[in-house]
Symmetry: C2
Subunit: 248 residues, 2 copies
């Protein structure tokens, strides 16, 4: 009566995210080898901790659906959000170094994760060149992303930070296909403020200003970008997703 533990869940080979996730560079047969080590569990409800600080590092997690936030805690107990994570992205890599997690990750909305046991992954890494290379690319990308973040935190003012943040999410939501003008903002103002190094009142004020100027509209957690060009100007990014002939 024992079925494979992931028998009634989607497989990498049929997953719509396979072109953006760990299997990106793999052949059909290698995707199956990766698939065989992945554990897919039931839907995690909102607010579930994927891992906590001090937990033994055993898996990395690919997001199949949902939204995560990762954060660490300072010596003085302050929370610092280190990232928000969308489908196709990987979390947990910070645990590799010491063998224990040095931060938390939790779901912001109900989410499906693919848990990948790191020991088995390491074994495949020695055998499947494309898998190893893709994992190195993902980690390299995270380093690059952190450098961009540093630039934002150190050099941008509050308006630029908010604009950059909104654009970044809208680009990431669209999975390489330009930019979505409608997306969900599942995190609180407090979370956004913490991530961007601002006070929550400042975040609220600036989002309010953008709404008043009709650059964006917000309906509950749903954001619509009405004037992409103005938002990218504010962000201080020559956003190559924007058609230069479109003037609104």
């Amino acid at each position: 009566m024992s079925l494979p533990h992931n028998s009634n869940f989607i497989k990498c080979s049929t997953c719509s995210l396979k072109g953006f996730c760990l299997p990106m560079m793999l052949s059909h047969s290698d995707i199956d080898r990766l698939d065989n080590i992945i554990q897919r569990n039931k839907l995690l409800e909102k607010g579930t901790k994927v891992y906590s600080i001090g937990d033994k590092f055993t898996h990395i997690y690919a997001i199949r659906s949902g939204y995560l936030k990762s954060y660490s805690i300072s010596d003085s107990g302050e929370e610092q959000i280190t990232g928000f994570h969308l489908p196709g992205e990987i979390v947990g890599l910070e645990g590799i170094n010491t063998g224990s997690h040095v931060g938390f990750s939790e779901t912001l909305v109900p989410s499906h994760l693919c848990a990948i046991p790191y020991d088995k992954l390491d074994n495949l890494n020695s055998k499947i060149d494309g898998l190893r290379q893709q994992l190195f690319k993902i980690m390299s990308q995270e380093i690059t992303h952190n450098h961009e973040l540093m630039l934002m935190l150190n050099q941008k003012n509050a308006d630029e930070k908010i604009a950059t943040f909104l654009l970044s999410l809208s680009v990431r939501e669209s999975l390489g296909k330009g930019l979505t003008t409608q997306f969900v903002l599942p995190m609180t103002r407090t979370d956004i403020a913490n991530y961007l190094g601002l006070a929550l009142e400042t975040v609220s004020r600036i989002i309010g200003k953008l709404i008043k100027q009709d650059v964006i509209s917000v309906d509950h957690r749903q954001v619509t970008i009405n004037k992409v060009n103005i938002l990218s100007e504010l962000a201080g990014t020559s956003c190559h997703f924007v058609d230069p002939n479109q003037h609104n």
Copy 2:
């Protein structure tokens, strides 16, 4: 008449940094396999660019001696220093993702580097488990370090940032052996300010204040920490390198 290109340079097996660098987990014979792909060039003079933005990514670099700074440039042309690097540390990993460097790295003082061709390294990564695992650890560590940085940039005030910065360098200089109370600060005030997201005048003022309070002394580029405990209190870090019984 052709000698191996690195014949008259030190090898990993006799390098004092081998316990902190890429060879950390390797057996004697595997160290030699790594050694055989490493290129060691002549001393790079101060101000030499190791790589520039847009350069094809071909090597990663281990620092044998000296001091590097890495930085990227925003769309609007602003420089953002993303890190300072000491002997035993690796630079260039940000290039893996796209195959091109997305930032600069340059020497702050005359430096010896070990250049590791990435294609050959990847080949060894498939064969030498300890090498691959160590490289993943190094990248994971860089991610963790960036999270700590984010916490510092977002939540610490100017005094705390400077104190944290000085302590961090003093710890890294000592290569896992606690903390050095005397070390060189080869970067300019402008560099420190840029890295910490402060104005250079603020950096100057705060360092001046620390000197006046005799927490540190500065002689040209040489820093001496006189009161480690006060500095760690300022940093807001329960610094476990400090003997709690030592009260100065």
